[in-house]
Amino acid sequence: MTTSSATAPRRFPGRLFLAMGLLLAVLGVIAYVVQIAMHNLMTPWYVPISATLGVVFLVLSLWQTRTVWRVLALLLLVLLAGAEWAFLLAVRLPAYTGPVAVGQPFPSFATTRADGTPFTRNDLQGDANNVFVFFRGRW
């Protein structure tokens, strides 16, 4: 009798690695959606990291069995991880070197309130302190 299941060849070796790799990449994106839904604005470094780990698992999967689908999945995941790293690294801001300095008066300026009335440095002086929050826009 030679029917031991322990010695039977596996039909899809590396399938677990394939599933884990894809799952990691998808989980990273889902986690980011959840993060934004929770109004948490930290930098999501975990997104490209999880996709990169997914690439590692897919390479392990390919190591065990080479199929066209796994090669395609690996290529897609490499593109995804690359795009995620590129986005996070490309959107870095240079250090501030402008004229605003702690301990100095805020520079003179003139701009406009939402109701069309003027707003200048003189409007900063009075009873209240002020926090300026510069933001990119409504989009």
């Binding site: 520079p107 002086q125 302190n129 826009g137």
Partner: protein, 114 residues
């Protein structure tokens, strides 16, 4: 806009510290009016001519999706005498301070009046 919503929800905390929250972008009056309607407790400035953004050196060139300029996300604390007490800018465009972090900065850098 998530950031502005968070600040709006904490408006009472800022009022307790006698601090106005002034939000600035280089968008025009129409957009600023919508923002003001959405966040009535914030002071919204329409800095379309860059009068404030240039004075503060905060223009991030060609960074909008359409290639136009935007303000680099930055938070500046100015006391009631017009003196700058604190400036924060993340190295990452997509990172923002939480309202609690801004409130902590106020407590740290502007002593309460007796």
């Amino acid at each position: 806009m998530i950031e502005l919503g968070q600040l709006e929800r904490h408006h009472e905390d800022f009022a307790r510290r006698n601090t106005r929250v002034i939000v600035v972008s280089v968008e025009g009056l129409d957009d600023a009016k919508k923002t003001q309607t959405d966040f009535p407790h914030l002071i919204v400035l329409a800095d379309q001519e860059h009068g404030l953004s240039d004075a503060a050196g905060l223009i991030h060139p060609h960074s909008a999706p359409d290639g136009s300029d935007t303000d680099a996300p930055t938070t500046i604390l100015v006391d009631r005498h017009g003196m700058v007490r604190w400036l924060y800018r993340s190295s990452e465009v997509i990172a923002r301070l939480s309202p609690d972090q801004v409130l902590q900065a106020i407590d740290l850098h502007i002593p309460a009046r007796p």
